[in-house]
Amino acid sequence: MNDYPRWKHALVVLVTVLGLIYALPTLYPKQPAVQVIGNSGTVIDEATRERAMAELQKRNIPFESVELKTDALLVLFPIGSTDTQLNGAAALREGLGENYTTAPNLASTVPAWLRAIGADSMPLGLDLQGGVHFLMEVDQKSVRDTQEQRYVDDIRGLLRDRNIRNTNVSRGAQGIVVQTPNTADRDTIAAAINKDYTTDLLVVNGPLVGDQPTLLVTMRPERVRVIADNTIKQNVGTLRNRINALGVAEPIIVQQGDSRIVVELPGVQDTAEAKRILGATATLEYRAVDQSTNPQEAARTGQVPGDSRLYRDKNGNPLVLKKKVIVKGDELIDASSQAEQQTGEPAVSVTLNEAGARKMLDFTMANVGKPMAVVYIERTPEVRIVDGKEERTAKITETVINEATIRGVFSKNFQTTGLESMKVASELALLLKSGSLAAPVDIVEERVIGASLGADNIEKGINSVIIGLLAVVVFVGLYYKLFGLIADLALLMNLVLLVAILSIFQATLTLPGIAGIVLTLGMAIDANVLICERIREEIRNGATPLAAIRAGYEKAWATILDANVTHLIAAIGLITFGSGPIRGFAITLTIGIITSMFTSVTGTHSIISLIFGRSKVKALSV
């Protein structure tokens, strides 16, 4: 037994020490807290802290401390007092008023020296701390529609530039249809489109419409894929910004599949507020006012020029605006609310990106003194029952929020005025600043987990881990005596390693994850069972104790490897195809299988060689 390599002993010691250090933060409980941040422009300072403390004291809500952080207050409540935390959040929301956002939160109590080396406790899943879960579907079709409309405009511009007349560009069911006067022009146009948009568009000859030859222009599939991919990435980014504005601690915003986004807001109980900010897909469009048409007349007759549309402002007054958009919301890079310098009325100051700035410059240069309108577009998902079947549509509300005369030539920076109040201005600025969503999203699944349920779940989960572990440890210790106790040590070690690795990767601990830990503990002992049974067999066959140990480990190894590899295949299958809760379970199981192979084979072998290595052994306690 002296031949057990020294480096393996060293490895076991090293892994044990590291495991203990990185698993240690798990012992520090999370502390209920409420985070208070100021809405745009509201400063958080010592005075706010005093006020928050006064509000809590006034209502007799016990709290531990109120810490002033950069731009935020962190109110800590006694550990385990979820109800106090909720009451505290409500009290602060009420007491501090609308200029502050309060969010329940779980604060880490892990000491700084541990966090300095990257050791921190696992974040808790929604099922363990309460919160809101949204599954959102990105409306990819509307993105394709928008993109196609842009190409229609581009093709029109192209035809204008090349002086090709008597053409008609429109969108059909199959794609963009270009009606041309004759085949010669058709080929010229096809060549022109191909030259400028060869990577984006596919041009084929379409059927005759009347006696006019047509071209059918469609987006290339790879282009559609790129658009879809960009869309969802941009949406994830936008949602992240909006959620940050909500002041949620440790939110999860991830893409799932091609068109879905998972949003998890731990600690959030007020779903209405969350949904209002998340769901409102608001964007702005700057459009020219069509001065050739009388809006009242147009509203009465419904007759507007082909390149214009009828809009209404928030008071219901009609307005005729050009269909062509000057600048869209996604070309906007910053927006902030402020009081307009001269009049003091609420305003949103807007900064555009280069492309937007150029377009705005071009437009304003040619249109000083003419009116320009801002259209605010909001989209709410809707459901109607048609012939007993559900039909899901989106209600699109387009309101002209501002019509103003262009006072001078501007490009990158300008102001939008005409907003009802400072509050409206700041809300609008917030939505604009967080970037408009590249595509509308609809919530297809929503889950709310109460904080008390979370606390209940975590208690039950931890209880089952402890009781399951104890039962296995006692049973194995009784059954295999000394070897059983060594196996028990390896099992505890396995739990430590598993928790350490999950903590290092900051894997979210969920209830299914806890189930995975418990199952791992139950099955990890299998390797030791195989080894111990083999050793017993060898002894029965007359082997000496040391030979029995050696043969036991050697012969059991092939079986342990096969059993664990197949089990690993099962676990990886679950990771790959499982979603949400199943993934958490499978990830824990996978890591557990790997750590168990180390602890129950290398770990126990190391201990056994230390115990039996130097002495003459007459009998084994197995």
Binding site: I443, E445, G450, A471, Y479, T559, T566
Partner: protein
């Protein structure tokens, strides 16, 4: 201490015809139950309705549950949120899946097939009934909002679950094919199908809710059961290689007998662990624990009475398991 006499030599293979027949019958019955009776899919798979209610004054969760049970919503799941007077009540969809609007039609754009949070007719009706049930006991209850989880989300989950099962079974059989031999792979796959079918058959029989944790449990049963088979198969290979005669029936019997201690021991430790989940894990982990407990028994039995008889029927032999010698032309030419 010993749970199983190490010198026992039970002739398990003697009952192979009966045990195979019983296993096949159980599989057919399970399949029939699953297809005819159907699984009682949980909210995860079916979609469902979530009703949020608020009481003017504080109320105990137990009172809400009993009020719902009296109103015919016995299977409603009640959760508190936002204080002591607001509750989320979850209800599974009553309608059959097929009546849901076809979401999977090729051309249907995603935006029109999806379900949003909305006041859909079903959700509304349920919300009204839930409110009636609650107000029968306490008139200060009111519905804050009713919402709905789309059925196609569940449909996707079911497809994903099926793909996961197939992936796992295929992956394991390929590994066994490489490490052992095709007969072992076939026998293992058949056993996995057997275990998964029987476990799900019990769901169909008892009408127990089949939710995501349940699916995870079924796949864990497959994982556990394959471990059991591997241990026996490993011993089969070892004994075939070391024994001179290698009479298949005898080899299989010896393999089962000599691994029986381990089979029982690991079964007990795993059962202790998942039993803790069943007893102490609360509603969310209870079904996982229970299925695992049942699955452990099914897995152990199928190793002995199903996998090995199949191995025998496929004609496992000593020759097939001898280590492959390097193709040495020198050796081959010799007699």
């Amino acid at each position: 201490m010993e749970l199983f006499n190490p010198n026992a030599n039970i002739d398990f293979m003697r009952w192979r015809k009966v045990s195979l027949a019983i296993s096949v019958i159980l599989m057919v019955v399970s399949a029939a139950l699953i297809f005819v009776r159907g699984l009682n899919y949980g909210l995860d798979f079916t979609g469902g309705t979530l009703v949020e209610v608020k009481y003017e004054r504080a109320v105990d969760v137990a009172d809400v549950r009993s009020a719902l049970a009296d109103g015919g919503f016995g299977n409603a799941i009640v959760q508190t949120y936002g204080g002591t007077n607001e509750f989320a009540i979850r209800l599974a969809n009553e309608e059959h899946e097929a009546e849901a609007p076809a979401a999977a039609e090729g051309e249907t754009p995603a935006s029109e097939a999806e379900t949003g949070i909305h006041n859909d007719a079903t959700a509304d009706k349920l919300a009204v009934n839930v409110l009636k049930a609650l107000q029968a006991k306490r008139d200060d209850a009111k519905v804050l909002r009713s919402s709905f989880v789309g059925p196609q989300i569940g449909e996707e989950l079911r497809t994903d679950g099926l793909v996961a099962v197939i992936f796992v079974i295929a992956g394991i059989s390929i590994y066994l094919w490489i490490r052992f031999e095709w007969r072992f792979a076939v026998s293992a796959v058949a056993s996995e199908a057997h275990d998964a079918l029987l476990t799900m058959g019990i769901f169909a029989l008892t009408g127990r809710e089949f939710d995501l944790p349940a699916l995870a449990a079924v796949l864990s049963v497959v994982g556990y059961s394959i471990n059991d088979k591997i241990v026996v198969f490993d011993r089969v290979r070892e004994i075939f290689r070391s024994s001179r005669k290698g009479e298949p029936i005898e080899v299989l019997n010896r393999s089962i007998n000599s691994t029986m201690s381990r089979t029982i021991m690991t079964g007990v430790t795993t059962a202790l662990a998942v039993g803790a989940l069943y007893v102490f894990g609360g509603a969310a982990l209870e079904s996982f624990g229970l299925i695992m407990l049942i699955g452990i028994v099914i897995g152990i039995l199928s190793s002995i009475f199903f996998a090995n008889p199949i191995l025998l029927a496929l004609g496992v032999s000593k020759q097939d398991l001898m280590p492959v010698t390097k193709d040495d032309p020198e050796l081959e030419r010799r007699p």
